[in-house]
């Protein structure tokens, strides 16, 4: 009797019943999702990871951000997305570490006590599989946190430069409007009466929070030079022609 009990660690067919039930539950969940919800196009590609739930959640946030950009309402996460996130938390933070640590403890105590070698059974397979997953998550999390922090800094730095450049371009459009209307106005209203000659940059437009501006004037064109205040080597130069068109853009330093 004791021989029989030792050879079957779990109840008969327990493991494969659990596997079959899990597969059925997953199939029902995914197929009901496809039947109930129409396929909607996604801006962000689905992440391939199944172990890091924050990546899946982050992708959904970005998806909603791009929907907002296009004027569409934010979408509730689909059942598949929620199932993936929950599965990732359960696999990475509950099932695998649980099975691995508890089996590790059991083996440790058995080895210290009986000293015998355990034979290959269901628990050994579960121990090996969960150990691989748990150790993979544990070993990869340190480089992942370092890499993601580095890329985060790069993205923020890059966008800060881009932001400064965009704001300067925006200011330049207002300068061009001011310059062009000078050309249209008669001299008695302080204009150039068909010429740019005599144009002077208004004091309040020569310096903003983003840059300092200067102009060089000819009869038929005004060249605007913008020097970034945040990035001293970065500058923009552009020419306003007789039709208010901005031409010959030149970007220097970090703006290139």
């Amino acid at each position: 009797m004791s021989q029989k009990t030792e050879s079957s660690e779990f109840a008969p067919a327990f493991l494969w019943q659990v596997c079959v039930l899990s597969i059925i539950a997953l199939s029902v969940m995914i197929s009901s999702e496809r039947v109930l919800f129409k396929h909607t196009p996604h801006y962000v590609e689905d992440p391939r990871t199944v172990l890091f739930p924050w990546v899946i959640a982050g992708m959904h946030t970005l998806e909603n951000g791009l929907n907002a950009f296009a004027g569409k309402p934010a979408r509730f996460p689909e059942a598949v997305v929620q199932a993936r996130v929950l599965a990732a938390v359960l696999i990475g933070f509950v099932v695998c570490p649980g099975a691995f640590l508890l089996e590790w403890r059991r083996r440790r105590l058995n080895r210290d006590g009986a000293g015998g070698r355990s034979q290959l059974r269901g628990s050994s397979l579960l121990y090996g599989f969960s150990g691989v997953i748990a150790l993979f998550v544990a070993a990869s999390i340190i480089p992942i946190s370092v890499i993601s922090e580095t890329s985060r800094q790069h993205v923020r730095q890059g966008l800060a430069v881009q932001d400064n450049r965009d704001l300067i371009i925006n200011d330049i459009h207002f300068l061009a409007l001011n310059i062009y209307q000078y050309r249209l106005l008669p001299r008695d209203l302080g204009g150039g009466n068909g010429s740019y000659r005599g144009y002077r940059l208004p004091e309040e437009m020569s310096r903003t929070n983003d840059a300092t501006y200067s102009v060089s004037v000819t009869d038929h064109a005004v060249t605007i030079h913008a020097q970034s205040l945040l990035y001293p080597t970065a500058s923009v130069e552009v020419k306003v022609d007789t039709t208010r068109r901005l031409a010959w853009w030149k970007f220097a330093g970090e703006f290139q």
Partner: protein, 225 residues
């Protein structure tokens, strides 16, 4: 007799493992599923994460408890703290980063919207100003006359923007058309401006809105929201 005792112990340990895992799955799943529904995954995920973290700490304390040697307990504890801290750090930073990126996307959208408005809106006003001053010293037409002539008889409330593409949502509305003062207004329909309580021209609240005013002395600009 001895064999029977060993068998019972093994079964107990398997039961303990199953209880730990099943309890963890139930608690974390309930925490995830019972969090109020939101358009974001983060609230449910963060709640589940807090429960999963508490579960992991409890599990580690149990797994490293005596009679596991002190050396293994210390080593396991240090590794666990580092891994849990890195996981929490990456988790929180990912949430912060994605929210920041979404803010940036909307910031860019606002900048594009304002840029388009501030480029497009002065065009009819500059044409009007040019035509008005081309009349010379003796003016036969007022600014309003010139504007109406150039904009196909536009009146107060008219949208004078010609769509650049099918579904172009931009509008440029004549807010005022006095003899020598013309006011144009343009607003976004879903992009939020600086002041959430700002009352927009079309009755909405908090959207980006730009205004350009033409007089015979030139054009002035007011970024209203």
């Amino acid at each position: 007799m001895e064999k029977n005792t060993i068998t019972i112990e093994i079964k107990q340990e398997v039961s303990i493992t199953l209880v730990w895992i099943v309890a963890g799955v139930i608690v974390v799943s309930l925490a995830f599923l019972l969090t109020p529904r939101s358009t974001e995954v983060w609230p449910a995920l963060n709640t589940a994460g807090i429960f999963a973290g508490a579960y992991l700490i409890a599990l580690l304390i149990y797994a490293l408890w005596k009679p596991i040697s002190r050396r293994l307990r210390v080593a396991g504890g240090i590794v666990a703290i580092v891994v849990l801290a890195c996981s929490a750090f990456t988790w929180v930073r990912m949430e912060d980063q994605t929210r920041w990126q979404v803010d940036q996307v909307m910031r860019v959208r606002t900048l594009i919207g304002r840029g388009v408005m501030c480029y497009e809106m002065p065009i009819p006003l500059l044409k009007t100003l040019e035509a008005y001053h081309q009349q010379g010293v003796e003016k036969k037409e007022t600014l309003a006359d010139v504007f109406r002539r150039l904009q196909n008889g536009a009146t107060v409330g008219s949208n004078i923007h010609k769509p650049s593409w099918e579904g172009d949502p931009m509008t440029v509305t004549v807010e005022a058309l006095d003899l020598n003062r013309i006011v144009l207004i343009s607003q976004e329909t879903y992009v939020k401006g600086r002041e959430p309580n700002f009352k927009n021209y079309d009755g909405k609240a908090g959207m980006v809105q730009e205004k350009f005013i033409l007089t015979k002395k030139g054009i002035s600009h007011v970024s209203e929201n």
